[in-house]
Amino acid sequence: MNSKGPDYISTTNACKLCRPLGACLAFRGMEGTVAFLHGSQGCATYMRRYIISHYNEPMDIASSSLSEKHAVYGGGPNLKLGLSNVQKKYAPKMIGIATTCLTETIGDDVNMYLREYEREYDGKDDLPCFVNVSSPSYSGTHMQGFHGAVRAVVEQMTEGGPVTGCVNLLPGFVSCADYRYLSEVMADFGLDHTTLPDLSLTMDRPALLEYEKVPGGGTPLHRIRAMGRSCATIEFGRTLGEDESAGRLLLSRFGVKRFRTGMPLGIRESDDFFNILSEISGREMPEKHRLERGRLVDAYVDGHKYLFGKRAVVYGEEDLVTGMVSFLSEIGIQTVLCASGETSGRLVQAIRAVTDGILADQPEVHEGMDFHEISNRAEALAPDIIVGHSKGYPLARKLGVPLIRVGFPIHDRIGGQRILHLGYRGAQMLFDTIVNTVIAHTQELSDIGYSYM
């Protein structure tokens, strides 16, 4: 019964994005940084369009715009020309260079080109900082691209030295509202912190009557350099691999103590996060958050009968899925299918860890799924709600059940960047949304039109 179905060769409606896109998003959360794709022009444009449709914010990604002759003779000259043009027009503090399938396959040595470029420009200009990450689209997903870029930045920029009181926070790929919330929580615990990356401001800007070449916000570069001197690192993600973990690198290279926890979704995973903060800061949970937790529990109670036993299909990035299932199992929702396009090999274990002792039946868990397979299984499992990004809408529509939109991308609604998922406050928002969605669905299908819930 726990079979994903036939092992298809083809992919239909993938439940993942390509690796360079994740790298570009991570670079966007760093101060004064322009993301640069070493490949053909189309990649940059497609990803810009995809990202803009979620955030409704500018997203300039430069490209080395390789053509056929560069594919044959190497992309070095165009990479250098592109870097120089970005320098001239954007005057960035940093350029984050990610490769694509094209340049990985023709074997371009970006490291060497960058060293040459730096030599050629020596002394002439103030050079921006360059960070490069290998992100072949044929290996891994956008999440490897995202974590890879974060790790590359730490690897290439961070320095050691005397230990400070600063805490590194590596949340992974979350919404702008989530990054904002996390900063608030850290500050409430009195913790000096460096969140890497931080898209809270770069991809959710106030109206300024200006098209900013490089948006304000993002993790300050001097703080990234100092991350090796922090006293601790908190890293989210139960499925994150050790080889792609920046926290692991900070630990092994600089001895920065690392706390690994799941994405703080729902009460238990948030408790874990807040406990870590208490441990590091030596402070009790601040009153504000204690009250938010209390109100959340109160809301759980108020709404529990509308949700108990409802069946959910959850899909998306593995860490988000894990956190979401943890949360859903707290509120009495039975997840029947967990699916991801990623293939860490750790999803089953992660789901078990967050549902043990609270969920009656273990859900089906499948890595490497596309929406064709998700759809086939979902039809058989008859869920009451679907939880995930907007690409599951065709599935929800087909099954006639509501879609709870979380994560990335949200292409069919406004404000995807402002969805708060994390902590007690995020759980409160999600809880209200889910209960109200279930009630609204029942109300719409009802002949009577009840006016009390």
Binding site: I9, A14, C18, Y46, P58, A62, A71, V86, Y90
Partner: protein, 468 residues
């Protein structure tokens, strides 16, 4: 203004009246310039995409397929196979050992599952590099499954969208000429270069039907493989969108002797002219009379409705940046009809002839630009004090961040902007974005004195308070 542009881009920017037009175009995009263009694959994908009963399999890593999943609002009146995103999702081992076997198996599997009328197999960058023999795989599957299985040579790095249009036309030319063409009316056409965004081709077909014209094939909006196979049976090819299907029309002229005319369905002027051109081509009195009736009927209900928008929008300034420049010609005229002034017009893939035509129909001082980018566009929009910008998804945040209204004239639009009805939708959309009260809350714009000031907001609030 030109300080916004990189030196390597200066020859692609022209200001009408400053000097004779000598604009460079159809060049590779400049590295690092953040072009708004996509790639060859994109060109092929958008042209073939609306063929709704074909299987569209992208042979490459996942990105190319996933970023083009349901990307175009090209509607179908029947099958919707085109709305699914199929990929071979090449992995590292495929790149090392070759992807032909995976392609063969994926293709066979999908054809068995969906029973399409034909299959298109798109090459992406990586396939061009690893050298998979797509032709051989397609041939083999075609023989086994007895449907046309057509390779599309759309490796991304081969060029811009125009190269992709050519690859798409080549692919379609393999279908044309393979269907039975008996029984078509002498007054028959193929509609080429309309993609049925928001149902636009249905409006156009309705006009043709009222004129007594038979449509053989939609190429490609609401397209069907079997109709395209019969397309050589039409008496005339009516080609919209200068770049995308023109080459196919030229091929069909050479091979089947079918003449073509170029039209645009945007704006009253061009829409009417399109219908009249077709009537003139067939040169039949009754047909012309019917055409006149169609135009009269449409224009007579439309003009009074347009009037209120024209009054409100008169004197406002517009900017246009679109993919293909054919749309820009019509937009310039459409704006003129509602008394607005176009001060900036550009396209990703215009040709020299396109820019000559734009230069001819725009006012002196208008900026004409090829393959522009966000920073240039920003500088132009600010300099020209623009009220509304027409473009696609990537242009939208540029307008909004500058406090300028925006009209989505892209593949995602949900209301038809083509045809007579489309002109009204267009005017309404321009009106809704320009007149929205939200602009009074964005910081004041120095170059637009007519814009509402804080005083107005204050007096508006005072008025509301008094009303209470």
């Amino acid at each position: 203004m030109k300080t916004a542009a990189l030196e390597g881009r200066l020859k692609q920017i022209h200001v009408k009246g400053e000097r004779p037009l000598d604009i460079e175009c159809n060049r590779d995009s400049l590295a690092g310039a953040v072009s708004q263009r996509a790639c060859t694959f994109c060109g092929s994908r958008v042209v073939l995409y609306p063929i709704a009963d074909a299987l569209h399999l992208v042979h490459g890593p996942i990105g190319c397929a996933v970023y083009t999943w349901d990307i175009r609002g090209a509607l179908s009146s029947g099958p919707e196979l085109h709305r699914l995103s199929f990929s071979t999702d090449l992995q590292e081992r495929d790149v090392i050992f070759g992807g032909e076997e995976k392609l063969y198996r994926a293709l066979s599997e999908l054809i068995d599952r969906h029973a399409p009328r034909a299959a298109f197999v798109y090459s992406t960058c990586i396939v061009g590099i690893i050298g998979d023999d797509i032709d051989a795989v397609c041939k083999k599957v075609e023989a086994e499954k007895a449907i046309p299985v057509i390779p599309v040579k759309s490796e991304g790095f081969k060029g811009n969208k125009r190269a992709g249009y050519r690859a798409a036309c080549n692919a379609m030319s393999r279908l044309i000429g393979t269907g039975d063409v008996t029984g078509f009316s002498p007054f028959s056409v193929n509609i080429m270069g309309d993609f049925n965004i928001a149902g636009e081709i249905w409006l156009i077909r309705d006009y043709y039907q009222r004129m007594g014209i038979e449509v053989v094939a939609n190429i490609t909006g609401d397209g069907r493989v079997d109709n395209i196979r019969k397309a050589h049976g039409a008496a005339l090819n009516v080609v919209q969108c200068s770049g995308s299907t023109m080459q196919l029309a030229q091929m069909m002229e050479e091979e089947y002797g079918i003449p073509w005319i170029r039209v645009s369905y945007f704006g009253i002027e061009d829409m009417s002219e399109a219908l009249y051109d077709i009537a003139r081509f067939f040169g039949e009195k009754k047909l012309m009379e019917k055409t006149q009736r169609v135009v009269r009927e449409e224009v007579s209900w439309l003009m009074p409705r347009l009037e209120e928008y024209r009054k409100a929008l008169s004197g406002r300034r517009a900017a246009i940046y679109v993919g293909g420049s054919f749309k820009a010609f019509s937009l310039v005229k459409a704006f003129r009809l509602i008394d607005m002034k176009v001060v900036l017009v550009g396209s990703q893939t215009g040709t020299r002839e396109d820019y000559q035509e734009l230069e001819a129909i725009t006012d002196p001082g208008t900026i004409i630009v090829d393959d522009s980018n966000p920073l240039e566009l920003t500088a132009f929009l600010k300099e020209k004090g623009v009220d509304v910008f027409v473009g696609g998804v990537k242009e939208r945040p540029i307008a909004y961040k500058l406090g300028i209204g925006f009209c989505d004239h892209n593949h995602e639009r949900k209301k038809p902007l083509a045809g007579f009805e489309g002109m009204l939708n267009f005017a309404r959309e321009i009106y809704s974005t320009v007149m929205s009260p939200v602009w009074r809350f964005v910081p004041e714009k120095p170059c637009c004195p007519e814009r509402l000031h804080d005083d107005d907001i204050a007096s508006g609030m005072a008025a509301r308070r008094n009303a209470v």
